[in-house]
């Protein structure tokens, strides 16, 4: 069965540093992958989408990479701020019909 793994331990970093979050998957080759941010008591909010033929995607301070050989996506936040503190979820379309399965998320804490 498909498995999507994100580091369950919280990531604690200092303000201004780059945060790097990992999403690993097995037993599938998704056509594309999305990253979401979730704040306590709120639904996930879409951040970035990357397709299998794209190695890297950027949006402001965010960068996503997608390595289909390693079956891994990395999500980077540069110049992190305390406001970036949240849980970050990766989601893979396992069917090609916009049907998304989510990882368990990684909690990011950015300290001032």
């Amino acid at each position: 069965s498909q498995k999507i793994e994100q580091n369950s331990e919280a990531l604690n970093i200092q303000e201004g540093k780059t945060a790097t979050l990992t999403c690993n998957y097995t037993n599938y080759s998704p056509a594309y992958l999305q990253w979401y941010r979730q704040d306590p008591g709120r639904g996930p909010v879409f951040l970035l989408l990357i397709r299998e033929n794209e190695k890297e995607k950027r949006k402001e301070r965010l960068k996503v990479t997608f390595d289909t050989t390693l079956k891994q996506s990395l999500f980077h936040i540069t110049a992190s701020q305390p406001a970036d503190s949240a849980t970050y979820l990766c989601a893979l379309d396992m069917s090609g019909f916009n049907k998304f399965y989510f990882g368990s998320g990684t909690k990011l804490n950015v300290k001032p």
Binding site: Q6, Q34, P44, L49, F102
Partner: protein, 115 residues
Amino acid sequence: EAGVAQSPRYKIIEKRQSVAFWCNPISGHATLYWYQQILGQGPKLLIQFQNNGVVDDSQLPKDRFSAERLKGVDSTLKIQPAKLEDSAVYLCASSLGVDYNSPLHFGNGTRLTVT
């Protein structure tokens, strides 16, 4: 644009009771999803609709859960009878359609507590 609306925001029921959740997606979004999110876990897909048809309900516990999307707009998710392990946040999401690589837009969910 208005976001995905869900109600109620919170619900507390006793086990074996029934409960229903309501979702109104973003106007024009053909695809609607219900996810279950247990504390500390990622959202788990329960059912996906395209307009008023079911695309996938393979992870929906059909002995107790049911969902419908009459007229291809609003949707309701029902649990009957509820079990303690159903305590979770139920998230509704919508997207443009299954043929688009489009993001999911989530509501803020209904937090269900079963006692």
